[in-house]
Amino acid sequence: MVGTPVLFIAIPLLAAFLIPLLGFVWKESVRILPGLVLLYLLYLAVNLMGQVAHSGTIVEVIAGWAPPWGINLVFSPLTGLLTTLMILMGFIIWIYSYRFKNIDFREAVKYFILLLMMITGSVGIVLTGDIFNQFVFIEITSISAYALTAFYKGRDSAEASFKYLIIGSLSSMFLLLAIVLIYSQLGTLNMADIADKAHLMKPGFKILALIFFITGLGIEAEIFPLNGWTPDAYAQAPGPVGAAFSGIVVKAGVYAMIRVIFTLFDVSGTHQFLIIIGMITLIIAEMAAVKQDRLKRMLAYSSIGQMGLVIVAFGIGTEEGVFAALFLMLNHAIIKSLLFLSGSYLVYNSTEKYIHETDGLAKHLPITSFLFALGAIAIVGMPPFAGFWSKWSILSAAAHSNMILVIVLILSVSIIELVYYFRVVNRIYFFPKQKEVEPKRPTINALIAMSILGILILVIGFYPDSVTGYLHSASQSLLEKGKYIQDVLSTGQLFIQ
């Protein structure tokens, strides 16, 4: 027994409260502490994953109250997988940004606190088994995200952040309304309990609550047309934060939405709705990405598109579809983070981040460019890299459900995606360098972080079996609604004393 799931929340919170204090004593500790915390959590996550594979879902009750009454954390194969992924990505992003704001200590303190909290909030969204608690974690994540988006002072970052905030506030309004409706009908806030009793709700309440959830969580999951804030926020946030958005925060949003749709309510027609809305998201985002002249915006739109694809895959609804969606989430987290991390070095000294400013940088930043190209090839689904396997599983899942139109649309959009990624890679490698651009060499820790991601892409690409086992058990655990309810509700002694 190395620990319990609650440590995923408690330890980072403790660290976040501790960081300002330690800063008075030893400045370097501010940078080191989050890394140590994340490393420990990674160790914990891997251990717990082993434990879960061995003995089934871990449900932890908090404050000693059994689930319908107390808040509980669920470390199932699914949530465990996502937690591990998020912590891993967080750790890599920490490595990457270790030297971030090297000069200005006071900014560094805030950066690391906010980053750590954003990761913790996302992990909390995934782990918690209580809808209101999930709302609180969503707010934690959002506030850190607002602040991190507006982190750079010289740009239009505040504008992006403000847009994010307006939409985010609407999101929390919808979530609260949904919670009100559910509570008024069932008198409980526990997800398993709600799922168990959902049939008791009057139909109007159920549908309306579902709609509010979809709208509120759809904003976090970046579905069209709720994603107006996304490109701005991604583009204006510092590079590692952009990576964290696409690698961690969105994943949590998608998870929350999927949990609501798959476990809380089983309303017929939701799956078709997911497919349609995911498809629209995918198409619009990829179309918008083609004509971008700014690198990070392009990556942001691409990220939206990929999330649309994830939602389509979830909408297929079969075990295969869920598997494919989770696989894509995993791959997207790794690859898109790599693209953001390497991309932000390619446009490091530029304020506008134009794509043409990356022209010919391959000569000056060979490794960064190579990793960017690797990411680009991988994300469009070229074998033998990671992206191919997820694309394959989505397509075969769709084919097994006889959704030929979905397949055709996905593939046509993939062609668009391929064009704009290859255009950029061509520019990096073959265009003459712009005179006024001064390339910035990546620091050693950034190189390490990017290389880890690159290696992960290759490992998953050449040996997908390294992850598919976990993904299969995760997708089963999402679909086994009865088991989830039973796992949670049968846990825990009442009040120990």
Partner: protein, 231 residues
């Protein structure tokens, strides 16, 4: 045009929302086996906490409160991060209005009373209405009063973040101490005492006091940051 669009959107939204809400029988709860019955009986019976809301906030749903405290902490951090101008440019204090001597003296007199009230509120959180948040906010308003009446009133940044951090660490550590005796996070490990006694409710008062300090320090810091913002 835009107005008409928005108004019609809002009308549809409102109608659908009200249509459903009207199905709720106001004043009667639809559900039979909600969690509230358990809270209402367990809180006085087993935990010795008279204020059930406090029991819920601190113990049953104490995890939410931990998150909530974090949200405030993050809001403070976020605000100072957003308004940060760089190492060398610290802003001056904004003067909202110049205050007369009477106000100054009055606030000076009021200040201890307010702080005392705040402390009272959060210490008695498990007995009477109020608690850590309310008390913390009251304390923050006390500082606000001082900041408004005295242009040169300064709050020590170090002290603020010290209080804030220590209170936060206390909260999280008390939570972790719940693991003692094979318990769970945030579980009570102290004797509960009798109902309506000041020393009762196990860890609840400790947590609420920590929350009170934390909220007070955070809100004070937040206002202080905002006040120091001037073009």
């Amino acid at each position: 045009m835009k107005k008409i669009l928005v108004l019609s959107l809002l009308a549809v939204f409102g109608v659908y929302l009200l249509e459903v809400l009207f199905k709720i029988d106001f004043g009667h709860q639809f559900f039979l086996h909600g969690v509230k019955d358990f809270y209402l009986t367990t809180s006085p019976d087993k935990m010795g906490v008279a204020n059930v809301v406090t029991a819920i906030v601190v113990n049953f749903r104490g995890f939410d409160t931990l998150g909530e405290v974090t949200v405030l902490f993050l809001a403070t951090t976020a605000m100072s991060s957003i308004l940060y101008k760089g190492r060398h440019q610290l802003g001056e204090r904004a003067v909202l209005f110049s205050s007369s001597r009477i106000v100054m003296t009055g606030s000076k007199l009021l200040f201890p009373a307010i702080i005392l009230l705040g402390a009272y509120v959060f210490i008695h959180g498990h007995l009477t209405p109020g608690g850590g948040f309310q008390g913390g906010v009251i304390i923050a308003t006390g500082f606000l009063l001082m900041l408004l009446s005295y242009e040169d009133y300064k709050v020590s940044h170090v002290a603020l973040s010290l209080v804030e951090s220590l209170a936060g660490i206390t909260f999280a550590s008390v939570g972790l101490l719940g693991f003692l005796n094979g318990g769970t996070f945030l579980q009570n490990f102290l004797p509960t005492g009798g109902l309506n006694n000041l020393i009762s409710g196990g860890v609840i008062p400790i947590i609420y006091i920590a929350v009170g300090f934390k909220v007070g320090a955070e809100l004070t810091g937040l206002i202080y940051t905002a006040l120091n913002e001037k073009d």
